[in-house]
């Protein structure tokens, strides 16, 4: 019981519940299965990227370039698929390979030239995106094959509402879930995952214990790239068009979700549960404000406020804990 009170996740969860109550009181269609499934589908994109960012933050780094990576992966995938055909598997394979390759470029620059990850990825964000814009001429791409369109509407569970409209659990949500489980196993049950936490907590010690820091870095940024690739395909599935500017700009939403979920920008801490709650909070906020007909620019203000409150609350709790620790003996 007490342990729960000390966890950041508990508070995020309570805030989500609170918001849900407020929103539902204004608009009853918020708390429906249909809306839930809808959110689970449309936020797969954000949720998958957030997992990648969580890995990077745990390892003590940061990645800003993943939206550009996702955009490039999406373009390459779209062009290849429309020109040469293929299937869902090849689409994912192509996008993920592109993502991994670009992620490795980040890792190598960060490690070999010893440049801070934030600088590196701001630079590569601009390079990746810039090169893409030049090569694509900023053109939109339409006309995906039918199988691509059909996949987006596939569901594993289908229900019908009073109006006769079908809804349900999308296959896209399942992809998110599968990645979530994979990420959980990596973080919790593999030496690699524990190495990421170790590296984020104290890189020198991690090297002394015997971890290969370069390999860990390569993995983290490659994994981020891999997930960016998947997210790129999912974005294409969701909107069925590919535009150069449809993803770039969402970095901050993703980072916000992960930080709201309790991951520290200083590395070494953060959980998947927290991150998913962070994504949920952002989803509820954004969706809820729309449902309450609040003008959309308020969304940014709210997100900003929540981040500040959340980060200062956790800093406050940490300070309290340190106080308690120092003052053990005094009565």
């Amino acid at each position: 019981m007490k342990k729960w009170l000390r966890r950041h996740e508990t508070y995020v969860f309570l805030v989500i519940v609170l918001f849900s109550i407020i929103i539902t009181s204004q608009n009853a269609s918020f708390l429906t299965l249909e809306n839930l499934f809808d959110l689970l589908k449309s936020y797969s994109f954000l949720g998958i990227l957030a997992i990648g960012v969580l890995f990077v933050l745990i390892s003590g780094g940061i990645d800003i370039s993943f939206t550009a990576v996702a955009t490039v992966a999406m373009y390459v995938m779209a062009i290849a698929t429309i020109q040469y055909g293929g299937n869902m598997l090849t689409a994912f394979l192509i996008a993920c390979s592109v993502g991994v390759a670009l992620g490795l470029i980040n890792a190598v620059i960060i490690y070999v030239f010893n440049i801070h990850s934030i600088i590196t990825t701001i630079a590569t964000l601009n390079i990746f995106y810039g090169v893409l814009t030049v090569l694509s001429g900023g053109k939109w791409i339409y006309g995906f094959p039918t199988w691509f369109r059909e996949f987006a509407d596939r569901r594993v569970l289908t229900l019908t509402n009073e109006a006769g409209v079908q809804y349900g659990l999308s296959t896209i949500t399942l992809i998110w879930l599968a990645i979530l489980i994979m990420a959980w196993v990596i973080l919790r049950y593999t030496t690699l995952g524990r190495g990421l936490y170790a590296m984020g907590g104290n890189p020198d010690s991690a090297a002394r214990v015997g971890f290969n820091i370069f390999r860990l870095q390569m993995f983290v940024y490659a994994f981020m790239g891999f997930l960016a690739g998947i997210a790129g395909v999912i974005q294409a599935l969701l909107v069925q068009t590919v535009a150069p500017n449809s993803i770039v700009g969402k970095e901050l939403d993703v980072l916000a979700a992960v930080v709201l979920g309790g991951a520290s920008l200083f590395g070494g801490t953060g959980t998947l549960l927290g991150t998913m709650l962070g994504v949920a909070l952002i989803a509820v906020m954004s969706n809820g404000l729309t449902m309450m007909r609040v003008p959309s620019f308020w969304y940014n203000v709210f997100i900003g406020l929540i981040i500040i409150i959340s980060v200062s609350a956790s800093a406050y709790r940490r300070r309290q804990r340190e106080r308690r620790m120092i003052a053990v003996e005094a009565e």
Binding site: R188, Y189, T190, T191, L192, G193, R194, G195, Y197, A198, G200, G201, N202, D204, S205, A206, R208, V209, G210, F211, G268, T269, R321, R323, R324, M325, I326, A327, V328, E329, A330, E331
Partner: protein, 514 residues
């Protein structure tokens, strides 16, 4: 039980002609060194004499210069490196402990074992098991689920030892393991070292606390300016002889005698209280007075110091500076009132390691070094830097080299210089000589006394009872957040004060198995 398993015929580790040269310094100069199986061996020497460098060479972290010979159990090494050291059972606990603050205790202990085994997957029951086994070997109990950052430094040290014990250790090396521990905790640590000895594990440790060196070590190796003075059996040494060997000169302790009492009260506390920190604290601090505060770690002394520095405002009571009631809600306010504070944990919060020594010294006083154009006056800056380097006899290749190249003790002096440079009226020193060698300690004591003579009021907080007794006008013992006794150093003895501290506390966190 002493000398168990000591095998005189063949040493465990033997090194000949070990030298190491860094740019501008000969850190080690043709040193020979030996340690036997199961021996407890101490390495002593002044700051910068090459102790840490020798340790790094033994652990393979630093390669010695050409011509060194290294033998472990009779086996010669041509190109000795970290892997050789690890495979032969040599484990080092560095001063920073090299642990992971963000991970639980159990994982901190077991992680290196898991990596070494090359396991892909982590079995948490296994982690628990490895940790428990390591704790059993030396009979300690730690809460395995707690995050490392949430446990005491003394326990963190035990975690580091346990981690080393997960391997088949033959030689455990500790660089200044006791610098941040209280007396009681040191005793527990020494008990652990004895316990390891009975299992045939040799221990080599570095310490500046000579009494504890003499208490535990079988043999002591003394280094001076990178050269070996000799290896001695601890029976043939005493405090004075050891100091003599280390410094090459006699360092005498003199009792500080205050020059009459000044009635001018600079700082006064009236019934200060803060829940969980300190309770009902009242005292007066006069101009030119040195007030000593001692007590166990966790007795509230640091919390009180922080309160007087505006960093930990009390909940009740009054603080008066020069007779005027003040709130002291922030550090800026305290600094504005002429209060300076040298923190306890200087290794962590004191220095910008990659910056030059000079910049580190003047960083707190940049405002004072501006010339009429509002730019930094380079001549004044250089003069200040050199003045402090000389004043504290900081051993530096040049003021421009980065702080991280300095030996541990010299880094501490730089931090001290940085705070002394602010020229405060009221100075709070929290453990100012931790990790500093005898001669330098003496130099710092002289500085403190000199500052008092100039009229600065000083609060000197220290674990070491002799330190406060020798340098203060008055000594107060703190326990569980309260002042429990006050002594006049002219009359009180070290034992008397020591007793007051321990009898009051029943501080038994460590449980020896026997």
């Amino acid at each position: 039980m002493s000398g168990v398993g000591t095998n005189m015929t063949q040493p465990f580790l033997s090194m000949q002609n070990v030298s190491k040269r860094y740019v501008g310094v000969q850190a080690l100069d043709a040193v020979d060194f030996e340690i036997n199986k199961g021996e407890i061996h101490c390495l002593v020497g002044e700051n910068g004499s090459g102790k840490s460098t020798l340790i790094k060479i033994i652990s393979g972290a630093v390669r010695p210069d050409e011509g060194a010979q290294i033998e472990i159990k009779g086996e010669r090494f041509l190109d000795y490196g970290a892997i050789d050291a690890i495979h032969r059972g040599i484990e080092v606990i560095y001063q920073d402990l090299s642990l992971f603050p963000n991970l639980p205790v159990a994982e901190n202990i077991a992680l290196s074992q898991i990596v070494a085994r090359g396991n892909r997957f982590v079995n948490w029951r296994d982690v628990q098991h490895i940790a428990e086994e390591a704790m059993d070997r030396i009979g300690v109990e730690l809460s395995l689920d707690e995050l490392l950052a949430d446990i005491l430094i003394a326990d963190q040290q035990l975690v580091a030892i346990c981690r080393a014990l997960t391997r088949d250790v033959r030689l455990m090396i500790m660089d200044e393991p006791t610098a941040s521990l209280t007396r009681k905790e040191v005793d527990s640590l020494l008990a652990v070292v004895h316990d390891m000895q009975s299992k045939g594990i040799a221990t080599l440790f570095v310490s500046h606390k000579l009494d504890e060196v003499l208490q535990i070590a079988e043999r002591v190796t003394v280094l001076r300016d990178g050269e070996k003075v000799g290896t001695f059996s601890s029976q043939e040494l005493d405090d004075e002889k050891l100091t003599m060997l280390m410094t090459g000169k006699r360092v005498e302790y003199t009792q500080y005698v205050a020059e009459g009492q000044n009635d001018d009260v600079l700082l006064e506390a009236r019934n200060l209280s803060k829940r969980g920190n300190f309770q009902d604290i009242s005292f007066q601090l006069h101009r030119g007075e040195i007030l000593g505060i001692t007590g166990l770690l966790g007795s509230g002394r640091t919390e009180l110091a922080l309160a007087l520095f505006g960093a930990n405002p009390p909940e009740a009571g009054e603080i008066l500076v020069r007779g005027r009631p003040t709130h002291l809600n922030s550090i800026q306010e305290a600094i504005g009132l002429g209060i300076g504070y040298v923190p306890e944990n200087r290794l962590e919060q004191g220095l910008i390691m990659k910056q030059s020594i000079g910049k580190n010294i003047v960083i707190t006083i940049l405002k004072k070094l501006l010339n009429e154009f509002g730019l930094i006056d380079l001549n004044a800056t250089q003069a200040t830097i050199h003045n402090w380097i000389e004043e504290l006899s900081i051993m530096v290749p040049s003021a421009g080299s980065p702080a991280q190249n300095l030996s541990g003790g010299n880094q501490q002096r730089v931090v001290l210089a940085k705070w002394l440079a602010t020229d405060p009226d009221i100075l709070i020193l929290d453990g100012p000589t931790i990790g500093i060698d005898v001669a330098a300690k003496r130099a710092i004591h002289d500085i403190i006394r000199e500052l008092a003579k100039q009229g600065i009021a000083i609060i000197l907080i220290s674990d070491e009872v002799p330190e406060v007794l020798q340098n203060c006008n008055r000594v107060i013992v703190m326990h569980k957040g309260r002042f429990i006794a006050e002594y006049d150093p002219q009359q009180a003895t070290v034992d008397e004060v020591q007793d007051a501290i321990y009898l009051a506390g029943n501080y038994s966190r460590y449980r020896p198995r026997s």
